[in-house]
Amino acid sequence: MAILVDKNSKIMVQGITGGAGKFHTKRMLEYGTKIVGGTSPGKGGQEVEGKPVFDTVAECVKGTGADTSVIFLPAQFVKEAAIEAIRAGIKFVVVVPEHIPIHDMLLVRKEAMQYGCTVLGGNTAGIITPGEANLGIMPDIAFKAGRVGTVSRSGSITYYIANTLTDSGYGETTCVGLGGDPILGSTFDEILWMFEQDDKTKAVVMTGEIGGVYEERACDTISKMKTPVIAMVGGIYAPPGKRMGHAGAIVEGKMGTAKEKLDALEAAGAHPAKTFLDIPKILQKMDV
């Protein structure tokens, strides 16, 4: 088991004929990811890496049975591409490009909720279930199948943590990159709850970051989880972030510093880690 993607996922690529689309389709296939096809309007009938290209997502779903999509398109096209996928019945969409306009992501999130679809990103390095599927731009070098799940915003942190888990023999069930954009398709609490439902995942490492609003929201979920959670938060010593007017403070409350976030996560039952090397030590103590 794993979360969101595994060897049975039928994955399509939106923007498969573009430079990044082509390059990463090849990489993902080399990893053994089950890519079934892709879309590029006006290029239906062509092939990329031996996989069929369609004009629309609906055609791709009909022709290949795709249930998951990875988007490699410039930011300004992401809104329509994601909504097209969601409405065509795709259940999981990974938005790799960065700088997606905020108003666009609000709409994508609303559609996703309405159609029961999960969206990751924008600006995510992707998601990997080691040995089964690698969606996005993560290099496979750090990952090995195992029993700990990870969720973080940044790609570089995901590599470091997976590398630590792999080296210490724990390995990973699934590693999820939420993405670095200010507004994200999925949040920590949602991904943590998926790990909680997964039998194979014996512990989860979550890495938050200064400046986000989603860490605090994870606390309630963590307090309900049986699966232990190890938490790191980047930016403990970073200068305080900028607030956005009075309205920002009224709506989002006082923006938590990284230290406050980590304290809140700990109070909810997460085990705080300072450095990567702390992680295997904590896992060992918990007898994971």
Partner: protein, 399 residues
């Protein structure tokens, strides 16, 4: 990107939100001319991209238009939180009966737009929201939902506006919401929205922040003279240089130059340095797959910074390969030269090749490498952090 008050008011006027009849002065002489022309009690408002300008003395009332020149001279000399005053907005002074707060922003946790209103506007609105939440109305809307007249009237009534003001307030709420959506705003605030003694509603201030990532959709902004700019904050010369080179960079007050990979570890690597007793001199993000030229520039920023006593480098080769990283560092060593001690670790994609390239280049030219220690996967990043702190403190001690 944040707009100046006068730019925000231009947008307000476009959306039929009443604003005072104001003019911009770029010099004391211009201020004098405008004051003569308006010939009534005035307010001179420094235009800066930061809050708290009232408290900093950046807003002055002028009862006698003849005094405008002298007061403008003083304002142009001001520095408000490090910002110099280059423009002054001159407006007729309003007869204020009541100050209302009105704002639209994004609730990122619940993925909604939120309209906020309070009958007690002004600089203490946040305190009011915290201590007396019942005095602040909030209404959430989906991004694709309309804000109807009945919604706006409900909001106006909920803050206890008198009946004769309800219709004008509702129309301002609707138009502010329209403006927010039309320009991809993150924040649109009128604080205060003034009710004058004559019962008129007028936007006495504006605060608008637009989504940088959506500015491409609004070419009309450039036509209005509103150029793309940073959210807030004055840049140091190094930050300015980094911005020109397209490198996300911030100066901090420590002595260890940080040369990390992506933004995620860029932030966390700074924490690691603190854990081992050091202080970073900067934050930097290489971006995905930096070219050797970009890596060279990143290192130049650090090596030329006199505050930097040692450099910490970390690269987890993802899509960007460690051999490309090594190429960039070697290019820097040859073209610019390293004047500070530096410790660096590579792991991930092609790290062995990176280490091999360093070893080979060192054999060719040991002099270039005399201040440079490089490591591969065998040394944990924690140890590299510790070593960087040690190198910096040795360098400080050796002064």
């Amino acid at each position: 990107m944040r707009l100046y008050e006068f730019e925000g008011k231009k947008l307000f006027a476009d959306f039929k939100i009443p604003v005072p009849e104001g003019k911009i002065a770029t010099s004391p002489a211009k201020a004098e001319a405008i004051a003569k022309e308006l010939n009534k009690p005035l307010v001179l408002k420094s235009q800066v991209l930061t809050g708290g300008r009232g408290k900093a003395g950046g807003i002055k009332a002028v009862e006698n238009p003849a005094d405008a020149k002298k007061i403008a001279e003083d304002l142009f000399k001001l520095k408000i939180k490090g910002y110099s005053v280059e423009k002054i907005l001159i407006e007729p002074k309003l007869d204020i009966r009541q100050e209302i707060y009105l704002g639209v922003t994004i609730d990122r946790v619940n993925y909604k737009l939120v309209v906020i209103a309070s009958a007690e506007g002004g600089v203490d609105i946040e305190e009011t929201a915290e201590k007396s939440p019942e005095k602040v109305t909030r209404r959430s809307f989906d991004i694709d939902a309309a804000l109807y007249t009945f919604n706006a009237i409900d909001i106006s009534k909920s803050i206890g506006l008198p009946s004769e003001s309800v219709k004008s307030a509702a129309s301002i709420i609707i138009n502010l919401f329209k403006l927010f959506k039309a320009y991809d705003a993150k924040l649109a605030e009128i604080n205060p929205l003034v009710i004058t003694n004559d019962g008129e509603l007028i936007a006495a201030d504006s605060r608008i922040s637009l989504d940088d990532d959506a500015v491409f959709r609004h070419p009309d902004l450039a036509a209005m003279g509103i150029e793309k700019r940073h959210e807030e904050g004055e840049m140091t010369s190094r930050e300015q240089q980094a911005k020109e080179w397209g490198i996300p960079y911030l100066d901090l007050d420590g002595n260890i130059g940080m040369f990390p990979g992506g933004a995620g570890f860029g932030i966390m690597g700074n924490d690691f340095i603190h854990y081992y007793g050091g202080k970073p001199a900067n934050f930097m993000d290489s971006g995905g797959g930096p070219t050797p030229e970009r890596l060279t520039k990143m290192l130049v920023l650090l090596d030329d910074n006199p505050n930097v006593k040692a450099i910490f480098g970390a690269r987890f080769g993802g899509i960007s390969r460690c051999d490309d990283f090594a190429k960039g560092v070697i290019m820097f060593l040859k073209d610019h030269g390293l004047s500070k001690p530096m410790v660096c670790r590579m792991t991930g994609n092609m790290w062995q090749e990176g280490v091999r390239m360093f070893a080979e280049a060192k054999k060719e030219n040991p002099e270039l490498f005399k201040r440079f220690e490089f490591h591969g996967i065998e040394t944990p990043i924690e140890e590299i952090s510790r070593r960087a702190v040690e190198l910096a403190s040795e360098a400080e001690g050796g002064k």
